[in-house]
Structure formats: structure tokens, C-alpha cells
Symmetry: C2
Subunit: 484 residues, 2 copies
């Protein structure tokens, strides 16, 4: 049965939560008295639909159903998880929790608050044990971090359940061991923000120069290693202790104004707003959002390639959702070996899937087939592999961003050394391209074709026999430019 | 003539500078009395050689010559630029500058200092006007940022010359308008470091949890937009002023301990070093360096794809170094249309260039040819383009990471609607793959092949005529699996 989440408060943060749940197959009911709520959430959802699937290497599940409730009680009815993202006013949050717990005292309630500690949120609640902080980061549908902060009054098993749900929607729940003002990350943001205001106020740097100082240097480091691991590397072989001893004394240097709060005058606001307009005003906020999301997708995908940091979270999320493919029906029918989605990096300047990506899609298909017959990574590690000797591609249609493709394979013939295969890359059952290939079984060290071992041939030859009588496409055996 | 840079002080930072200059074709002379200097710089250079070329989309120029000098005077002889990266001791830096300026008072001297202001560096110098801060970020060979800080005594034209040199080696010189302790970026690092020490000391978070709080969330944002642009987006359509008004009051909140400096005890050092070991000790520092560099290459390449932030710097650096190709000799010889280098993302699990990348290399070649005949991006914008209808690839060799490849094109035949082309992807003049293609001139809106316009045919048909008598490879007209 489809699971349900309730979202109380539908701004940018609430909308981001809604998008994450929906795109992970949950039904979502939103309560927000703002008459603009549906439009605002719709805009966040549009962004999320364009970005989140680009992180997935397996087909996305069917999107859940979004609905808007007239009351909090209606929104939380049947919900397994409730996320509160209303304004940062404690008495308002208390009213929301009281309303929820009147009818649903035992449902998980995460709060997006950055300003309040869980023990403050729990004050006067019917069931404080179910209320905790689940603090996300914008854009919620892309950034994995959720700071999960319990208080001593929280139910530990409820917290574990909440963390598991957050993992199920692809997030990284960071369990904060002690409640503290601003949790962890926002304490850093606060420190940097304060220093930045001084620099602008004192005319040392503009907003643009400060942004460049961050994104041309340490910002790139922090996105993949954070603070301590970066410094560990900087310390070199001598280690962290050495680094500390070098860098520790600097703390005594008089180079910070953090001890003061800059006076928050209208002039300062105007100065910063004006500089920001000069820096970024050429883009609308929507454009900046799309640029940001595209950049984040790029970062996250490169971390995913490397199975590192936030990319590790993406891989684990894929693994959770990986559906075991039904048996690819080796007997007497082409085998569907791959399900793919056209990713942003597959697109050329025409907006179409670039030609080399059709061959890439075919490689995904033949790789899955090679794994199926036992010529997998472990086999390659023994020094043998199937290499592609020759390829013939016929382009028949144009795939576009987000299209779902399947790759099917027909084994035209096989002997000890060779496999002659024919693949179709299809969208909605229609050929986008056909790819005919000759694969050779190779001794990689000797650099020549050799007979495949019995254990593989015992998988291959029966498939070849069962495919022998399948109809052959007109493309088979055709040379480039030949008339049909 | 090859230009020369002198590097005074050859640690991780000096080595990074040396690598940047060398890989951009400069000769480099290093002075460092440390007997280990050559080994240490060699290690940085090995890392740089593995990473920096992966950011370039044009062939790297020939590496400069690295030498080690016995004296400062010998090192700076004939140097156009001098970078000082000795220990952070002011009297030592003063001695170095005095030594340099005894013989070379008019050469640019950048200092890597994070701790001293330029006016401090200039104290007592023979020619203070030539001394300035050029503060880089580790790894210097990958991160573009260099904070360039003059003092009022600096020579403005010297500063402009220094910035131009930094751009020439692919960096982003950030001109800091007012000298200030720690320049700009390190003030932020200092603020975060201070807060982090408190969190660890008070048992709120471990080093690992703090790193996760950064790299799963705001670290990813900062690597591409920095602080203010990120908040501008968060402020939404209401703009930066609205954001400031929302977030400003938080500054009064009591959630920072930045006003105090944590006592720097041995216990605190041990606590942090121990947590860091638990977090990252499974990797050696060399491994962490390679992981970091690979991640940074991934981030930088995705920003380069998007022409954004640090990626824009990479594109501009490519554009500076782009050599105008010699005329591709259309008359009577295959045309060399593309020079490429095998990038990390082109490699498969066997360590070889993945098969779809041979087709990608062919696309680079045919795209350059299409631009050559006038079917460029502007032409595509008018609604017409050449589409690939059919492709035949024969794999003949294996390219590996870093290999330099050329793509040549022979126009087998052409008529109003079709071009039949044959491409060779070669390494050192030897075929790695041959690619035969049929291209159709398409009206993209109508979705059908139409005659190309006269302006293009006038370019195409003479080339076809001049290629008509060229020998044809045995692969032409061959179908998949056909015996030669």
C-alpha cells in the first residue's frame, strides 16, 4: 500500500519535503492556509521533477498523489510521518503540535526548525516523545542532509523509525547527540554570515567578491570532505596532531570581529541588497534555482561516480530501490536487459540525446547481458573479458531528456570466441536505435581472442540456440549506406 | 621563449605553485634548503599530472623544465614571476625578499602568506612596490582562487601584471581591495574552525559528524554559488532585502560561542586527532589526496559543462590556450579535425577508453567538420542540421587515460542531402578505431531530409571532389562480421 506523509506548512521548505516524498512514491497531504500554497508547491515540484530523477540510475517509482487538506486533522489522517515547516514562531508550532496530537498522539512529527531545540518544541505537548527536529537544507529535494535532533524526552525507537523513513526518501539523517541552539550546520552558517556582514559593511569586499572567495576555493573542498578531513590532508603524513599544532596558535590572532554583532541598519541592508542585485540581478530567481539545481546535480553525480560523501547516499538509495528484474526470458525472445532514463549529460545542443549515448545505452544493455552469462567484474579481474570488435548503429528516432528507454538483446549467433548480438534501444516499444555488434572473448594479457571457458559457454550456447529462429531485423548484416 | 617562474619554499603550497606553472608550460626553478624538497615537490607534481589535464579540453602544452637552485639568487635569475611560500615567520620572509631584491629589485614577488598583510611584508624592503600577497588554496594545482592583496605602497601596474600571469596559469585572481588580517577566505575558515572546536570540545558532535553536516548540505551549495547568491535564491522572488529582514534578527540570538576562544589544551588536540583517525584513518594521506583531487575534478568538470563559477575560469583558460588549428588541408588529404585527450570519465572498469567514447571522439571530429563547412551552432539555430543516420565502428586498438588522440575525416561522397564520411581516431598515427557514417541534412521542424543550401554545398562539394580519388580503407562498405 502507498504510504502517506503529511506536510504542515507549504513554503519552499515544506514544498521541498513534499517533492522528496512524492518522487519517492509516497502520497502527500499538505496543510497550509496560504491561498498561494498550491502554486508555490507546484513550482518547487516542477524544479524537483527536473532534477531529482537525474540522480537516479534506476527507473524512478511512480510518483505519489499530492493533495491539499483543509485542516491539520484531515492532513495527518492516515499519515505515517508528519513534517512541520511553519514559520519560526514557537507558539505557532505549539499550536500545530497540539492540533495534531489531539487526534494522532503517536505519529512521528519532525520539525524543520533551525531556531528551536526539541525540548522547546515539546513544551506542553500531549506526547512530547514523538516530537523531534528534522532540519533539512534547501533545496530539500536534492541535498541529503537532515539534522535529526532528539531531546531526552524523545522516544529512541521513534527517532530510529524517523531516520529510517528519511533514508527511504534518499536523505542522510545526521543524529545530533546533544540539543543545542541552531543544531550544528547553522552554527557555521551563522559564524560565516556574521563575518561576511562585517566585510561588506567595512568595504573590504562586496557580496560578489565574498562569493568568489568561497566558490573558487574552499567551497569546492567542503562539498566533498568537509572541514576536518580537508585539514587532515593538509597536515600531510605528520597527521592531524601536527596540523593542530601548526594551526592552533592562530586562534589567538586578532583577525576576527566575530565578537561583535554589526549593527543591523537599513543602510547595511541596502548596501548588501544593492551589491547582490549588481552581482546576480541579471538572472531571475527561477533561473538561479535551475542553475543551482543543475550544478548540484553535477556535483552529486560526480560524487556518485566516485561512491563518496553525498554520492554514497545516492548509491545506497538506488540499492534500496533496485527492483530485481524479472527473468529476462532467455527462451525464445529478445531479452530486456536494461532500463534507463535520458540524463541531462546525455543531451546535445539540439536538446536531443547525443549520438554516442545510443552506443552507451547499448553498452549498458550488453554489460547487463555479460553479467547474466557470468562475464561480470569478478570474471574480468581474472584477466578475460568480452571486447567489442565492431558495431553498426542505425538511428531511427530521437530520445529527449527524461525519456525512459529499454535495451533488449538478441543473440544472433555464438561460438567459442565470438558473440554476434543485435540490440534495440526503445522508447515506449518503438526503436530509437538498433545496434549490431560482434564481441570477441579476449585474453587481456595476451591481447588476443581465445575460447571462452565452459562455464560461460554453457550459459551462452543455449541462449543462442533459443534465439536462432527469432526473426532478424532488416538492419542485420547491412553495411553503411546500403539500401533496404 | 619559455617563461620562467621562481618558487621560494617547496612544501605542499610551493609544490602546488610549481606544478601549476610547469603544467602550463613555464620553466620553474625552486629554492628550498630542505633536503627532502625534491621528493616532496615530485609527489605534488605526480598528483597534479594526474588531475590537472583532466580539466582541459584542449591538448596540454609541453611541460616546462623543473630545476632546483642552490641559492635564492640563482633561482630568481631570469624569472618573470617569483612566488614565496616559506614558513609563516615574518623575519624569514623579510630575509627572503631582501635576498631577492639585492639582485632583482623589479621582479614581481607574490607571497603565499595567510597570516600577514602586504604592508607587513613590505617593511624594510628595497622595493616594496613589487611585493604583494598572492594567497592560494590547497591543492594549488586544482583550485583557481588566488587572493591578490596589494598595500597602498604597491605598484598598481605590477599588480595588474601579476593578475594576468595568474590568469595565464588558469587561476582566478581575486583582487582584495583593502588589506586585512587573514584576507577574506581565511576569515571564514577561522570562524568555522573556532566554532567546530567548541562543538567537539563540548561533545555536541565528532569531527566526522561535523564533516557530514558540511558536505551533505551547505558545502555542496557553496562550491557553486557561495554565500550571498545562495541566500538570494533562498529569499525567493521577494529578493535579498526580504531575506535580510527575515534572517537579520537571528544575529541577536544567543547561539554562538564565537566570542570565546576554546582553551587549546593537549586533551582537545588528542580528542580531535583521535576522532579524525576514527573517521579517516582507513585511508593514507596519499589516498585521501587522490580521492580529494578526483572529487574536485568531478566538481570542476561539471561546473565547466555548465560554464559556471570555477568552471567558467576553466573555459576561459582553454580559450586562451586554444591554438588555431592549421588549415586542415581540404585538398586531397583526409582532414585532421580534432585533437583530444582521454579523460578520466572516458575510462571503463578495464582501465580502457570505453567503447561509446570512440563514437564520442568521432562526433567531436564530425562536429568540427560541420563547423568547417558552415553547419555550426548558428546554422542549427535556423532549424536545419546534419543528423547521423547510420554508423559503423571497427575497434582496432585500446586508448588509455591521458592518451592524445586525433580525429581525421575523409568525405567519401556527398550529394544535396547526404554526406558519407570515414573517420579515423588515431594515437601516434595508429588507428584506434575507424568510424564510417552516413549523415543526412534535416529540416528539424519538418523532421525530414531536405537539400542543404547552396552556401553549404559550395563548401562540401569541392572537398568531396578532392577526396574522391583518395584510397579507401577496407572497412568502408563492410557489414558487421564480414571477413576482410
Amino acid at each position: 500500500m502507498t504510504r502517506k506523509a503529511a506536510i504542515i506548512g507549504g513554503g519552499v521548505i515544506g514544498g521541498g519535503w513534499a517533492a522528496r516524498f512524492l518522487l519517492n512514491g509516497w502520497n502527500v497531504s499538505v496543510f497550509d492556509p496560504d491561498p498561494e500554497a498550491a502554486r508555490k508547491i507546484g513550482e518547487v515540484l516542477t524544479n524537483a521533477r527536473a532534477a531529482l530523477p537525474a540522480l537516479s540510475d534506476i527507473p524512478m517509482c511512480a510518483e505519489g498523489v499530492l493533495s491539499f487538506a483543509d485542516t491539520i486533522t484531515e492532513a495527518v489522517e492516515g499519515a505515517e510521518y508528519i513534517q512541520e515547516s511553519v514559520s519560526e514562531r514557537l507558539e505557532l508550532k505549539h499550536r500545530v503540535f497540539a492540533q495534531i496530537q489531539q487526534s494522532h498522539p503517536d505519529t512521528l512529527i519532525g520539525s524543520s526548525t533551525s531556531g528551536f531545540m526539541p525540548s522547546q518544541l515539546q513544551e506542553g505537548a500531549a506526547n512530547p516523545a514523538m516530537i523531534f527536529v528534522a532540519h533539512p537544507f534547501n533545496p530539500v529535494y536534492l541535498l541529503p542532509l537532515a539534522e535529526v535532533v532528539p531531546s531526552p524526552a524523545s522516544d529512541p525507537s521513534a527517532i530510529e523509525r524517523a531516520k529510517e523513513i528519511l533514508r527511504e526518501i534518499g536523505m542522510f539523517p545526521l543524529h545530533v547527540r546533544k540539543e543545542i541552539d541552531a543544531h550544528i550546520a547553522d552554527r557555521f552558517l551563522e559564524a560565516v554570515w556574521r563575518e561576511a556582514l562585517w566585510l561588506v559593511r567595512d568595504g573590504v569586499a562586496t557580496t560578489e567578491e565574498i562569493d568568489e572567495a568561497i566558490r573558487m576555493g574552499f567551497g569546492l573542498r567542503w562539498g566533498q570532505m568537509g572541514l576536518f578531513e580537508t585539514y587532515r590532508v593538509a597536515g600531510g603524513e605528520a597527521g592531524m596532531k601536527h596540523f593542530m599544532e601548526q594551526f592552533g596558535p592562530c586562534l589567538q590572532w586578532p583577525w576576527t570581529k566575530l565578537t561583535d554583532v554589526p549593527e543591523f541598519t537599513e543602510e547595511l541592508v541596502d548596501l548588501i541588497a544593492g551589491q547582490s542585485d549588481a552581482q546576480s540581478g541579471v538572472y531571475t530567481i527561477r533561473e538561479l534555482e535551475r542553475i543551482r539545481d543543475s550544478n548540484l546535480v553535477g556535483f552529486l553525480r560526480s560524487l556518485k561516480d566516485r561512491n563518496w560523501g553525498a554520492g554514497k547516499v545516492l548509491r545506497e538509495h538506488d540499492a534500496r530501490r533496485r527492483v530485481v528484474l524479472p527473468d529476462p526470458a532467455p527462451a525464445g525472445a529478445p531479452m530486456i536487459m536494461a532500463h534507463m532514463q535520458v540524463l541531462p549529460s546525455w543531451i546535445d545542443y539540439n536538446g536531443h540525446m547525443t549520438e554516442s549515448r545510443y552506443l552507451f545505452a547499448a553498452s549498458e544493455t550488453s554489460d547487463a547481458f555479460l553479467r547474466f552469462i557470468g562475464a561480470d567484474m569478478d570474471y574480468v579481474a581474472t584477466g578475460f573479458s568480452y571486447y567489442t570488435a565492431e558495431t553498426h548503429i542505425i538511428h531511427k528516432g530521437e530520445a529527449k531528456l527524461g525519456d525512459r528507454l529499454t535495451g533488449s538483446l538478441q543473440l544472433l549467433s555464438a561460438d567459442e570466441k565470438r558473440m554476434h548480438i543485435f540490440m534495440r534501444i526503445q522508447k515506449d516499444g518503438v526503436d530509437m536505435a538498433t545496434i549490431e555488434q560482434m564481441l570477441l572473448h579476449v585474453d587481456m594479457k595476451a591481447g588476443r581472442a581465445v575460447a571462452a571457458p565452459k562455464v560461460i559457454l554453457e550459459r551462452v550456447l543455449p541462449i543462442a540456440a533459443s534465439h536462432a529462429d527469432l526473426p532478424r531485423d532488416a538492419a542485420v548484416g547491412r553495411f553503411t549506406g546500403q539500401r533496404k
